[in-house]
Symmetry: C2
Subunit: 143 residues, 2 copies
DNA sequence: ATAGTATCGGATATTTTTATCCTTTAATAT
DNA sequence: ATATTAAAGGATAAAAATATCCGATACTAT
């Protein structure tokens, strides 16, 4: 479904969002430990998220990553889009060059509903929302 | 969503199912032309499907692949399972070792519904069903 | 100013997926 | 029997995804 890179991105963003706003600066090491991901690879992914302004970073001592106010309203859809592209939301399930009503693949009609279900869910689920479940121990980021 | 191998497998199986039953023997070359897939790679995938008894093959002149009676009732779920495994139907969306109610990831509840939607669709969609859409020109296998 | 720290970014390595090549095996037709 | 044909299977190659390494950059603290 999602690439590993994308899973790490989502979990990392949620983890940062669980930290108290304004006091949420956190380093790579802590993040990758919290989500159980390879450190160096996670760094690459965080770099992309920073470049795309979904995340901000500060270098040097007491440096790290943080997500301010508005950033916590980011929807999962956007993260997937930035890391995996939106093939999953718009592409053809069976590999046709493009998904369209005019030239539908064998599963187009049935699949479209699922894809929209997924896209809708991802578009209405924010980091804030997810962070709550982690904070109160209902949901988990690793193992 | 699905691997290329899996997409080729599904389209190939549907293509064979569009041919008149009992007179449906068709060679690799024709199949990969019909679904626009790389020949040698497609051969590998068909071999797996033959090994798993979703397809049968005959060597030599007038040889090829065919799907008998019962085979046409095969559901897409089974093809995905054989080629990609059932990670997509049972695995955790965010990469936890296993998906479970006891230790749910951040999107577990929301994702479960989508996964079940997908699994249900794939379990109730057969080659026969798909073949009809191709035969009457409503759906397409390539481009 | 200087040393220390943490992210950035480029280079490289490993693994997995996708794709090709070629020999072997089994069936057909002459 | 023999030549021909098409799938099977093993070996290899290319591409993409995942993962690691290390010097450069920017910031902090002393
Ligand atoms: S054409 Fe395949 S999903 Fe729309
Ligand atoms: S635990 Fe992640 S989808 Fe169920």
């Amino acid at each position: 479904m999602f690439s590993k890179a994308c899973k790490y991105a989502i979990n990392a963003m949620i983890y940062i969002s669980t930290l108290p706003e304004g006091n949420d600066r956190v380093g790579l090491k802590e993040i990758s430990k919290a989500i159980n991901s390879p450190e160096a690879f996670t760094a690459k992914i965080l770099q992309i998220l920073v470049r795309e302004n979904l995340l901000s970073s500060i270098k040097g001592p007491n440096g790290g990553f943080e997500i301010h106010e508005e950033g916590r309203k980011t929807h999962l859809y956007r993260i997937v889009q930035v890391i995996d592209g939106d093939q999953i939301f718009t592409g053809c399930a069976l590999g046709l060059e493009k998904c369209s009503e005019d030239h539908p693949c064998a599963v187009h009609n049935k699949f479209k509903a699922i894809r929209e279900h997924l896209a809708g869910m991802m578009m209405t689920t924010s980091l804030e929302d997810m962070a709550k479940g982690i904070q109160n121990g209902t949901n988990f980021l690793k193992i």
